[in-house]
Amino acid sequence: MESKQKTTGYYVTKIVTYAFLIVLAVIMLIPFAWMISSSLKLEKDVFAFPIQWIPTDPQWSNYSEIWQKVPLVTGFLNSTKLTIFVTILQILTSSFAAYAFAKLEFKGRNTVFMLYVMTISIPWQVYMVPQYIMMTRFHLTDSHLGLILMHTFTATGVFLMRQFYMGIPTELLEAARIDGLNEYGIYARIMLPLSKAAIATLCITSFTFEWNDFMGPLIYLSSANKKTLQIMLRMFNTQYSSNYALIMAAATVALIPVLVLFAFLQQYFVEGVATSGIKG
């Protein structure tokens, strides 16, 4: 009798839990569903109430129209270029520096590393103004190179890679040194292959940051042919503020690259957050 009660209770909890989770998932997904659904509608139907979730006559032409209204292709290419450069350069230089910080002994190591650590909790908003003045002096405003230089050399990147390298046993490197590998060889043949997880995490962080970055390009890029996708999306929103169907199509396009990356590397996204959380 008692065990039967327990099982009913068990099932009730189970059902409530799942019902709650499903409602939650729906709430999280509604904005995205509405975005995609509206992007396939005629403008006059976007705000029709009650919401028609699946358009009867999907307007695929919205997706071809947006590319003609605003130079979205240019924005797409510019964002891709910035993202690829920043991601690759950040991974290379951070892992390079992190190897020295984690595994090599030399004078000044701790002092230099302190410089990095000290700046970790200083938000960009604190120094964005002097940075802008400096970039103006260097003639690096309104240039992709300027953004790449500002976003590549981050303390968080070095810190993350160093944390990971600290966990790799030093005996492994000693053995390689005895076998005649120099430090560059050890970095390339031992450290890099062993740190795939950390590289994946840094890659994702860097990619999503640069792809989604809005304030950087907003402040620095003024020529139309240099603007990024996020800036174009914002321009689209202000210029065609009455055409929600097209705005939603453009928003969908802007979300796709990160969605694809997320779908494939979902576990690394989560692991990256989890490891950075544990250090605290």
Binding site: P31, F96, E105, T119, I133, F153, V158, N212, F214, L255
Partner: protein
């Protein structure tokens, strides 16, 4: 003879050490040079700039001491409003996100099917482009035609809020978007924290006859203290520095209802072109963040007792 040998050995040792140091610096320099020029120097420069008058119009830099701060605290009404709005945004967003994230993490920590799916759904808004997501939110919460107000009206609400267009509701709308976008991230942080709670403690609590709430209060919550402090710190810094979300959704308006500190820095620098003054406001933001961080470190030491 033996001395000579020792000397050679010593100089070899010295050369070896020098070579080692050179190799090490060759690893560090590519990143360090960039980091130093583009991050470290601007940080140091901002200290100096906050004591200067430097406008784009008149080319010269004029050292004015604490004049910027005097003006900020005694005359600049916008600064006071921005400070108040920042506090409002932080004080509501931080606990809301924290408790929702914790609740979700505890739910997701149970054995459930489709865990990866639910976790992904909750996490995705965090990595989604803010511009895209904000555009969608603003359409959903459009006061005249948006589906949210459509639903409220069909439920019998006669005068639904005007959301981002209203002085009162603009900030709550932005807070809603912030919580929705960020809670999945902090849920994952909490999930990692929950993995480290020893299961023996729960077993012991069950033997003592503890119910769900007692188990949470006496086992889960205390064991999660370090995680909670970490989440708290990240959230506070994130809310104090954010202004992109206000720029995209309301441009700080209506009026100055959603103008926050970082937005005031941005405006002073890139709209009013008062670089010195903007840096002074940035210094205040910096000092607040440092003080809060130090305070939380002290509290963490006090409350972590194992």
């Amino acid at each position: 003879m033996a001395d000579q040998k020792k000397n050679i050995q010593n100089s070899n040792k010295g050369a070896l050490k020098r070579k080692k140091t050179l190799v090490a610096w060759s690893f560090i320099l590519p990143n360090l040079i960039g980091f130093f020029v583009f991050t470290f120097v601007p940080i140091v420069f901002s200290l100096f700039l906050s004591l200067c008058e430097w406008s784009a119009g008149n080319q010269g830099v004029k050292f004015v001491g604490l004049e910027n701060f005097r003006y900020m605290f005694t005359q600049d009404r916008s600064f006071r409003i921005a400070l108040k709005n920042t506090l409002y945004y932080t004080v509501v967003t931080v606990p809301l996100t924290l408790f929702i994230a914790l609740g979700l993490a505890m739910l997701m920590n149970k054995p459930i099917k489709g865990k990866t799916f639910f976790r992904s759904v909750l996490f995705f808004p965090y990595v989604a482009s803010l511009v895209a997501v904000a555009v969608v939110w603003m359409a959903l919460f459009n006061p005249e035609r948006g589906p949210v107000n459509g639903m409220l009206m069909s439920l019998g609400v006669e005068n639904p809020p005007r959301w981002a267009a209203s002085q009162v509701w603009a900030m709550p709308t932005i807070i809603g978007l912030t919580v929705w976008k960020g809670m999945g991230y902090y849920m994952v942080v909490y999930l990692a924290g929950l993995q480290s709670v020893p299961s023996e403690l729960y077993e012991a609590a069950e033997i003592d006859g503890a119910n769900g709430w007692a188990k949470f209060r006496n086992v889960t919550w205390p064991c999660l203290t370090p995680t909670t402090f970490f989440v708290l710190m990240m959230l506070v810094v994130a809310t104090f520095k954010s202004y992109d979300i206000m720029y995209i959704t309301t441009q700080g308006g209506p009026g100055e209802a959603t103008k926050v500190l970082a937005y005031h820095i941005f405006n002073s620098a890139f709209v009013s072109m008062k670089f010195g003054y903007a840096s002074a406001v940035a210094m205040v933001l910096f000092v607040i963040i440092i003080l809060l961080t130090l305070f939380q470190f002290r509290m963490e030491k006090k409350f972590t007792n194992y």
